[in-house]
């Protein structure tokens, strides 16, 4: 097994000490697109913390040892004070990542982001062609806008990641997007986790077994989970949520992870520190160590990249199994047995 990178070592240390090293902030639920798989129910203005609130929170996060901040939404650039929030995070020396659909990126924003020294911008693409992307984003012209944004950012010397969710609806586009990313001088990041549209069901866009198999094989991911030693309590069943990872919603709700809607408290009423070391957070961490037997005793658990959030959204219970994750793991096992991993 290769030596752990410094980033991995720091993350392990942060996780052990409950230092929220990486914080994901959803600045708004508002969005100017309607992507087909999006689990957001409210695209309109709900309660949003003010720039003044974010200044207080970001300062506190810095004092607690957080280093990485990811600003997303909705579409984060819809906030008029967006640059003010980025600038606050940079003032406190954060490594700032932004996730956007690219629709509102223009020359002046790129100039400001460059001057502020952000780490990277992730631009979401559903497909490598205009027709399919625009249809899946429900936004005519959105592919062209995203590509325009990518080119402006790359030209300014800002690191860009093309972000892609692999579903049964755009299956295979990841190969073309990888080439597009190479051609445009970007990194490429794709994930086959599709969150349900409604609580208690699997997303209608989730991959089937054959697609999981093909995707895992194409991405050569079969070997990344080989570091586990203890089958009864494999580390892949646990994650950093609520330890070195944290999510904060537009209205100030603090979650262990941005996609795991279990409230640890609301930051508009308490300090982040009180919430992070409070009763609810401690209870979550204790429960996290006691996942259900279905998963702990599962034959395939060494190869499972289990996710509490997916389990919670699909079954309303985050400590148990999820059918879509079981499906992915079955494909992983098949891949490992076929000698392709």
């Amino acid at each position: 097994m290769p030596d752990k990178t410094i980033a991995q070592q720091i993350n392990i240390e942060a996780s052990k000490k409950n230092i929220p090293l990486s914080v994901f902030i959803e600045l708004t639920h508002r969005c100017n697109l309607r992507c087909y798989y999006c689990y957001q129910k409210e695209f309109k203005l709900t309660k949003e913390l003010s720039l003044h609130d974010w200044k207080r929170i970001i300062k506190e996060l810095a004092e607690m040892g957080s280093l990485y901040i990811t600003l997303s939404g909705g579409e984060p650039l819809l906030r008029e004070d967006f640059i003010g929030i980025v600038s606050t995070a940079r003032y406190h020396n954060f490594a700032v990542s932004i996730i956007s659909n690219g629709m509102l990126v223009n020359e002046s924003i790129v100039r400001e982001l460059k001057n502020l020294g952000i780490m990277d911008v992730g631009i979401s693409l559903h497909a490598a062609s205009e027709g399919l992307h625009d249809r899946l984003a429900h936004g005519p012209g959105s592919f062209k806008r995203a590509l325009y944004a990518i080119r402006l950012l790359v030209k300014a010397g800002i690191k860009v990641l093309i972000k892609h969710s692999v579903s049964n609806t755009n299956f295979g586009e990841y190969n073309k997007l990888q080439k597009l990313a190479d051609a445009e001088g970007c990194a490429f990041e794709c994930d086959s986790t599709i969150l349900p549209l409604h609580k208690g069901e699997i997303s209608p866009y989730a991959l089937n077994h054959e697609q999981h198999f093909t995707f895992l094989k194409d991405m050569e991911v079969g070997s990344i989970v080989s570091c586990v030693s203890n089958k009864e309590d494999p580390v892949t069943l646990h994650c950093d949520a609520g330890r070195s990872l944290c999510g904060i919603m537009p209205d100030g709700e603090v979650y262990p992870c941005i996609i795991l809607p279990i409230s640890m408290g609301n930051i508009s009423k308490k300090s982040f520190k009180e919430i992070w070391y409070g009763k609810k957070s401690t209870a979550f961490r204790e429960q996290e160590l006691r996942l259900e037997e279905t998963c702990r005793k599962c034959e395939k658990n060494l190869l499972c990249s289990r996710c509490h959030a997916v389990a919670f959204l699909e079954t309303k219970k985050w400590t148990g199994k999820s059918e879509s994750l079981c499906e992915r793991t079955a494909a992983m096992v098949e891949l490992a047995q076929s000698g392709n991993a």
């Binding site: 980033a7 070592q9 240390e13 954060f94 490594a95």
Partner: protein, 110 residues
């Protein structure tokens, strides 16, 4: 390797730039960083890689919040830490600065 010229000036050989005691070192702007368990974590802007400095490195990085000469840095390190090998200090510090320069974390004004 440190070489001392006839007038007694010290230089570090094989360094990206020659560093003398009078060389001024300035931290670049916009570097993401955090003090984590008393050690400085710094992300190099070029490749987004995370670096962790030891105690002395952390101290040097912190005092470089304003530009300083190599001579000043050595003097401050010497004063701050006990058990520092005074003969070794110039070489160690210039070695560290050379690494910072290589990673584009500082600018060097000769």
């Amino acid at each position: 390797m440190v070489i001392i010229n006839k007038s007694g000036k010290k230089y570090l050989k094989n360094c990206v730039m020659n560093l003398s005691e009078k060389t001024k070192i300035q931290r670049v702007e916009n570097v993401a960083q955090r003090l984590f368990e008393e050690q400085m974590l710094v992300i190099t802007p070029k490749d987004s890689l995370l670096h962790r400095f030891n105690e002395v490195g952390t101290y040097i990085w912190q005092i470089l919040d304003t530009p300083k000469t190599v001579e000043d840095i050595c003097a401050e390190v010497n004063e701050h830490f006990e058990d520092i090998d005074e003969k070794q200090i110039f070489e160690d510090i210039t070695g560290f600065i050379a690494k910072l320069e290589e990673k584009k974390l500082v600018k060097i004004h000769s």
